[in-house]
Symmetry: C2
Subunit: 352 residues, 2 copies
Amino acid sequence: MTRKSEAAGRSTIRDVAARAGVSASTVSRVLAGDYPVSAAARGRVLRAVRELDYVADARAKAVAGVGTPTLAFVLEDITGPSFAHMAHGVEREAARLGHLSLVCSTDGDVRRELEFIEMMRAQRAAAVILVGGAADTPEYRERTGRIADSLASAGSRLVLCGRPPLGPGAPVTVIEYDNEGGAYALVAHVLAQGHRRVLFLGGKPDHTTAMGRERGYLAAHRARGLEPDPALLLHGDFTRDSGHRLIRRALAAGLEFSAVVAATDMVAAGALTALHEAGLGVPGDVSLAGYDDIPFARDLHPALTTVHVPYEELGRLAVRTALGHGEESAAEHLLLGTHVVVRDSVAAHGGH
Amino acid sequence: MTRKSEAAGRSTIRDVAARAGVSASTVSRVLAGDYPVSAAARGRVLRAVRELDYVADARAKAVAGVGTPTLAFVLEDITGPSFAHMAHGVEREAARLGHLSLVCSTDGDVRRELEFIEMMRAQRAAAVILVGGAADTPEYRERTGRIADSLASAGSRLVLCGRPPLGPGAPVTVIEYDNEGGAYALVAHVLAQGHRRVLFLGGKPDHTTAMGRERGYLAAHRARGLEPDPALLLHGDFTRDSGHRLIRRALAAGLEFSAVVAATDMVAAGALTALHEAGLGVPGDVSLAGYDDIPFARDLHPALTTVHVPYEELGRLAVRTALGHGEESAAEHLLLGTHVVVRDSVAAHGGH
DNA sequence: GTCCCGTCGGGAACCGGTTGGCGTTCTCAG
DNA sequence: CTGAGAACGCCAACCGGTTCCCGACGGGAC
């Protein structure tokens, strides 16, 4: 009883073959359904498969060159609403295209990101999608460029989704949204309401998403011939606690401002609570705006004016272009639009 | 030039061997690092690996019986905050234990869930984690039981995380939280504030998570000798829109209530907005409570009283027990505690 | 100068599938 | 009754690794 493998246990194609009284090739062909097989043999094979509850080993198929391709996406933290929406888009589109999705949270740790990408190369993933902003240093470009080459030469592809593009020539697909433009439009809207001292609750310096929004903030001011007080540019991270803390500190420091633009809806949520706690009315005493248009933005009180970003679509596009399906496959750099969603948290300055 | 494979392209272990002037076995051994290999040979192999940018094919390793195990988790929608937190816990713990994580969103589609699980069996995943509530029908138990057997006989394991357990005997690991108990405590708190007509914004009938919370609602009433008006039990789903709609309808129908308990923080958020839109103050005119304690609950205005559920820990435990690590590996059924978080959205009936 | 043992490396079988090529059998026309 | 051609099924090679087993070589002890 060398390998009877009985009823239980992972049975192999040979077990099935033996039970059906045919060769392994025949079993394979019955299952594949391409090659002609006599009805009698097919029946016996099918029955054996059912009785043994046999499922072909996907890894072995993969080695043999058939089988479900895999797609990987790595993000900082699935818990962030915008990440979650991108992830959802990626996963849904991948599934639609018959791919499996591997995830990895890096918690912002570059080393973990690197390790995971290396694993994905070993897995022969069809594509690796890097999601979300990052520090755009020369080192980042160099490192990411190497990864892109490495992946490309292994027949895979690197996709940057809402992440700083590399120089031209790198074998990379980039899907971005108009990050700076959204911030520009939003801040322009705030300024149009008469606000002149607009506090900006930013993210980590040199984090591209944060910086893009900050650039939009500055550009909107300059377009009106205004030069914002540098003291109004605060830095933290993209969490609600950061927004809460930043506002408390600004208030404690006696900083003057009539409006707050947060780099993120999450940050705005924390900021809103801090303002409330300080007895400040929004938008009566101070106006507030966010960025991302997460579903919750509507349920803050007042409903948050923010910038809508098509996160889910971003994810879908990322996998579609990566896999070369769809007409956008030709393009290697896509830019999706954003737009301001006006709700109730921004009012005219000095307004009643 | 049969398979020179040049600089580019997925190089095989044989390519490396050829370039280093050794056999494939030696390359394998150098990379594995177990077997003694002369310094000279090792050096040549390492250099060849570097020059070819070689990474061993993880799928082939898997077939040969070594290599990174995989773990799968399937949930309804990664976009829901509580799901996202469980997912995060699962992924982080899996990574810590050296596993890869495959995800699948089912959007509540049972067929998709089934398909995915079958794929996971083919992938020889170490464990499949089913996350989130489901309709607990006899058919569900039967089907899930079959899956559990099937997975078990393939050396894998099914884990139900916050999902209805099966009968005893099924080869399943169950990680739950005290769903009903949390609702009981929450509603008891509301009743203790003097409220007698408490509207319950539930989920789909026969969805276990929703029903568990509903049971808690009822039990808390009965413990006080109260029998709630059946008209106060509303059903929808777990989205913010559902909460919004339900409140609007209840108000339009002239339903009387002094407090609202929502089955979910998301639902509570929608309900809160609907109440505000109707000119009702919270908690002045009506009290409101949620369930899940998602980070945003603090930033609603008023800050939401809710039930804290250790979602991330739930995810971590799921993989730990599934993989048989840790002391809890022996247990096959774990129940995590929940607790009420009192904030500002529930006030005494009749006001101060 | 042998003998022996330890170190090192290669050949080959194996993991669990797929598939090309070829021989066998069946069928039907001539 | 025979020969051609189609239908069918098995053998063996292959995918890309790992590892058992054994032979070769070199050095130290006697």
